[in-house]
Symmetry: C2
Subunit: 316 residues, 2 copies
């Protein structure tokens, strides 16, 4: 059995875990990121965290994987302008930590980390190619083809969230219209639900939110659906339909008929997955139909640490 | 200088040419396909045509490349159910011709052939990665990444024409809605123009068509635009906008910011290309904007033979 350390660098906390080659987390810690203190302080936290995780363990470590926000330059493990990290410009995160820890360090962006995590520890045990989509504040994507991450020309590929399903649709923060992120991204979604509840005053969701719409979360929508609330059920189906429309375009272009969905909203469960799958089956090109598969991420809420750990096992 | 034979297998004619490694056509012929006579007769015509092209030439031939419609299985050069070839099921075109001609034979579908042709003899001299889109009856696509054709899981990748720009848009023959092919494919386009001319009776296009709307062709629309016809100009811009919307989704997913447009409608010229480029620039993700390039295919109306010839020079 081989061991690695996975580091999930988030805007509010850094999660660090000791992970074996089967994807089991042996030990994990979480420390505040304190991103506002600047890169040096954050790097120090990561270093301390990794050392803490390794303390007292006799296991030899193959390397350290880091999932980070922002644009990543693979070769040097450079992180550029990560959102929610004020004052960070370009930081040679990988290189610096490699020197300080004297271990191999691999850095990848969040979305690619999720895809590689799924490849190494999740549905990759059965599928060599899949489109990974991570539902959260943003809608991230990562494309795995023949067990390799598809990076595109400059490493920015996989922006499934910015496939537009309606050229005249909802305004997206990216500047375009009708991007699936503008319907499914957490903040957009919650905004829509708040508006729609004005005309769906009978929905149990309002009660679940203690009559305060600012309490609405994706989890609450799911809870309402489990209570058979018609509005919530239709909303989740609608999210699945939107994702299905966008994924159909992606599948037609990529010829990758397997989709793995992770992240918070994926907690919507079978209702969501069936809706995504049925929409794709209705719309995708005929030769692809028989191969369409929509799966829930196997890594679930440990995707961050496990995905980062997987970077060390991934064959670049 | 090396020499190859390129075979452009179309529904109505087979075009065959002797092509050198710089993409110059030394000699070419065209024979009727007579597809209704079945695969054996067509294969015989190809064989005869290749032999005719080589007759009297002392040039050593590196191989024969064939661009064919339908689904192609690369390894055996098998053509499956090509449209407009009644009675064809699965035909081992490559294998049969390789035996009969005693030359290496490479078979690819039309859209991939166009992309490989552009790579070897066209804009590939400058760009290692691009999205090739071929405008004709259908809207074909081929993706070149780092000088390799992106094939996807089963060789069917690149269906740019079936990116939807509007989930509630025009019905496409593929079964989906809002595919860019449903707006830009020749037959769809001509149908739309005929309808729209009912309300644009002042358009010079009607005169150019001798007052008979069944005479409308893409070329006629272009002619009208050159005469400063407002309807025709707006129509061509609109086609560019539709292509731009679809390509934006493709570029965001693929991280390939260079687009090469070929095929008949590409004859619409600068008006079309500017419209495509401006639309992409308005909508594509910010980090990609500075790299966006939209080019007209360099192979133009010889793309069929040259593309097929390029298959022999392409490094598989």
């Amino acid at each position: 059995m081989k061991y690695v350390v996975g580091v999930d660098l988030g805007g509010t906390s850094i999660k660090i875990g000791l992970v074996n080659s089967e994807g089991k987390i042996h030990k994990k810690i979480s420390v505040p990121t304190n991103a506002e203190k600047g890169p040096k302080a954050v790097i120090k936290e990561i270093k301390k965290g990794v050392q803490l995780i390794l303390k007292g363990s006799k296991k030899k470590i193959e390397g350290v994987g880091i999932g980070a926000p922002g644009t990543i330059s693979l070769k040097k493990g450079t992180v550029e302008y990560p959102p929610n990290f004020p004052g960070w410009g370009r930081v040679h995160l990988g290189k610096i930590l490699q020197n300080q820890l004297d271990k191999k360090v691999f850095v990848e962006n969040d979305a690619n980390t999720a895809a590689i995590g799924e490849l190494i520890f999740g549905h990759g045990n059965k599928f060599n190619s899949f489109i990974m989509i991570t539902l959260g504040t943003g809608v991230g994507g990562g494309i795995i083809l023949n067990r390799k991450l598809y990076r595109g020309e400059s490493g920015g590929a996989g922006e499934i969230g910015h496939i537009s399903i309606d050229y005249n649709g909802k305004q997206c923060n990216c500047g375009s219209k009708g991007c699936i992120e503008a319907y499914v991204g957490n903040n957009y979604l919650i905004e829509d639900v708040k508006k729609e509840l004005m005309e769906n005053t009978e929905s149990v969701l309002i009660k679940l939110a203690d009559n305060d719409l600012s309490n609405i979360t994706p989890k609450l929508i799911h809870d309402a659906a489990l209570l058979n609330d018609e509005y919530a059920i239709n909303k989740i189906k609608e999210i699945g339909t939107v994702l299905g429309y966008g994924l159909t375009s992606a599948i037609n272009v990529l010829d990758i008929p397997t989709v793995v969905i992770g992240g918070g909203v994926a907690g919507f469960g079978k209702l969501l997955f069936d809706s995504v799958e049925n929409t794709i089956l209705e719309r995708v090109l005929t030769p692809l139909k028989s191969r369409i598969t929509v799966k829930h991420s196997k890594l679930k809420n440990e995707a961050g640490i496990k995905g980062a750990a997987a970077l060390v096992f991934y064959k670049y």
